[in-house]
C-alpha cells in the first residue's frame, strides 16, 4: 500500500486515466463524496472500463465505494471488484460485522484473495470500535482515519493544529497495531499550505501512523519523503529479515543478530520499514 494514498475523483476521465503518474503509492478512485448522487452510475461504469483496460504501473489501485447506508455500495462493490482492482476503501466503517459482510461478498464473487480492504473510520462509534473493525477480516490491510466527518460527529471544530483529533489518532494507531494492520492518517485538506502539510505529516509519523492520504497530487511527494526510512534503517531491516528467514530455514527456534535475540517486535518493525521503502517482503508469522 505504501505511504501515500491519493484520492482521484471517479467520474473525471482526465484524472482517472492519469492517476498512475501522479506520484501516489496507492490511488483511491472515489465513488463517494467526489461523485454527485445522479452520476454514481456513470462513475461506476467509467471506473469499470478504466480498470479493465488501463495499466496503472507503479501504483496500486483502490476504489472508495459508497457507504453501506446507501443504495449504491453493493453495486459499486460488485462492479469494481471484478474489474482488476487491488483494494477497496470502505467509508463510515463502524462495525466489524459490516466489513466481514463485504469480505464475504468478495469471497463469493472473485477468486482474487489478495484484494485488500481499508475501512475508513470517521465517526465516534467507528473510533470506539477500531480494533474490532481492524480484526474483522484477513483482507484488511490498514485502517484509515477520516478526521473531517469524525470532528463533525463529536461536535468539535476542525483545526490545523489537530488538538481535537489527538485522542482519536492515538486510538486508531493502537487499534490497527493490535490487529497487525497499518494505520493511515487523514488528509491535510489545505492544498496550498505545504509547510502545514509537512508539520502534520511529521506529527502523524511520530504518533505511529504508517502513511497518510491526500487530496492533491502536490502532497504525494512530501508525504513519501517524510515517511521514507533512512538508508541505515532499510539496511538493518533487510539484515533482520535475512536472519529470521535463515533461522527459520535451518529450524532454529530463535534468531539472533549482533548478539541480540530477534523477537517479534523487531521483525514487525523491520517489515514496517521495508513497506515504507516500497520493498516487497512476503514473510508472515504463522
Amino acid at each position: 500500500m505504501g505511504t501515500n494514498l491519493l484520492f482521484v475523483p471517479g467520474n473525471n476521465p482526465a484524472m482517472v486515466q492519469n492517476a498512475g503518474i501522479l506520484g501516489a503509492d496507492t490511488v483511491i478512485f472515489d465513488l463517494e463524496d467526489a461523485v454527485a448522487g445522479n452520476e454514481k452510475d456513470a462513475a461506476r461504469t467509467l471506473l469499470k472500463n478504466a480498470l479493465e483496460s488501463m495499466e496503472y504501473e507503479g501504483c496500486e489501485t483502490s476504489v472508495r465505494i459508497n457507504a453501506m447506508d446507501t443504495t449504491h455500495w453493493e453495486k459499486d462493490l460488485r462492479t469494481v471488484a471484478v474489474a482488476g482492482i487491488d483494494g477497496l476503501v470502505i467509508p463510515k466503517a463502524e462495525r466489524g460485522e459490516d466489513i466481514k459482510a463485504i469480505s464475504e461478498i468478495l469471497d463469493s464473487i472473485t477468486e482474487a484473495e489478495d484484494i485488500f480492504l481499508i475501512p475508513l473510520v470517521e465517526s465516534a462509534l467507528g473510533v470506539e470500535n477500531v480494533y474490532e473493525i481492524a480484526a474483522s477480516s484477513k483482507r484488511i490491510r490498514g485502517i484509515f482515519f477520516g478526521a473531517e466527518d469524525y470532528t463533525a460527529d463529536i461536535g468539535a471544530v476542525r483545526t490545523k493544529g489537530g488538538e481535537e483529533i489527538f485522542w482519536a489518532r492515538g486510538r486508531i494507531v493502537n487499534g490497527a497495531a493490535a490487529a497487525g494492520v497499518e494505520a493511515i492518517d487523514t488528509p491535510f485538506t489545505d492544498v496550498e499550505d505545504i509547510e502545514g502539510l509537512k508539520k502534520d505529516t511529521i506529527f502523524a509519523k511520530a504518533l505511529g501512523f504508517d502513511g497518510k492520504a491526500s487530496i492533491s497530487p502536490r502532497h504525494c511527494g512530501f508525504i513519501r519523503e517524510i515517511f521514507y526510512p533512512q538508508d541505515e534503517e532499510i539496511r538493518y531491516a533487510i539484515r533482520v529479515m535475512d536472519t529470521v528467514k535463515e533461522a527459520e530455514k535451518s529450524g532454529k527456534g530463535v534468531a539472533s543478530m549482533d548478539g541480540k535475540m530477534i523477537d517479534k517486535p523487531i521483525v514487525l518493525r523491520a517489515l514496517k520499514v521495508l513497506r515504507a521503502a516500497g520493498i516487497k517482503e512476503d514473510f508472515r508469522y504463522e
Binding site: D41, A42, L46, N49
Partner: protein, 90 residues
C-alpha cells in the same frame, strides 16, 4: 408522450457527451459524431458506438456523440451509461 432520450458524460477535456434519442418506428440506428480528433480517431469512435449498440440491441435510436478527446475506455463507458439510462427511462 414525447420521445425517450437520455444522456451521459460531459464536454470536459478527455470526456464526451453522449445523447440517445428514440427514432420513429421502423427507422434504423443512426450515429452522429463530432470530435476534436475526428481526423485521427473519428472512425474508431463510430466503430465503438456501433459495437456497443449492437451488443445492447439498440437499433431504433439516434446516438449523438460530442467528443473532447476521450480514450476508448471513456467512450465505451459513456455510451454504456447513456444506453442504460435510456433503457431505465432516466
Amino acid at each position: 408522450m414525447g420521445k425517450k432520450n437520455a444522456k451521459a458524460g460531459s464536454l470536459e477535456s478527455s470526456d464526451l457527451l453522449v445523447v440517445i434519442e428514440e427514432k420513429e418506428a421502423g427507422e434504423k440506428l443512426e450515429i452522429v459524431m463530432n470530435s476534436i480528433v475526428e481526423k485521427q480517431y473519428g472512425d474508431r469512435i463510430i466503430e465503438i458506438a456501433h459495437e456497443i449498440a449492437a451488443l445492447k440491441g439498440m437499433d431504433n435510436v439516434r446516438i449523438l456523440i460530442q467528443d473532447r478527446g476521450a480514450l476508448d475506455y471513456a467512450i465505451r463507458a459513456r455510451i454504456e451509461t447513456a444506453i442504460e439510462r435510456y433503457e431505465r427511462g432516466v
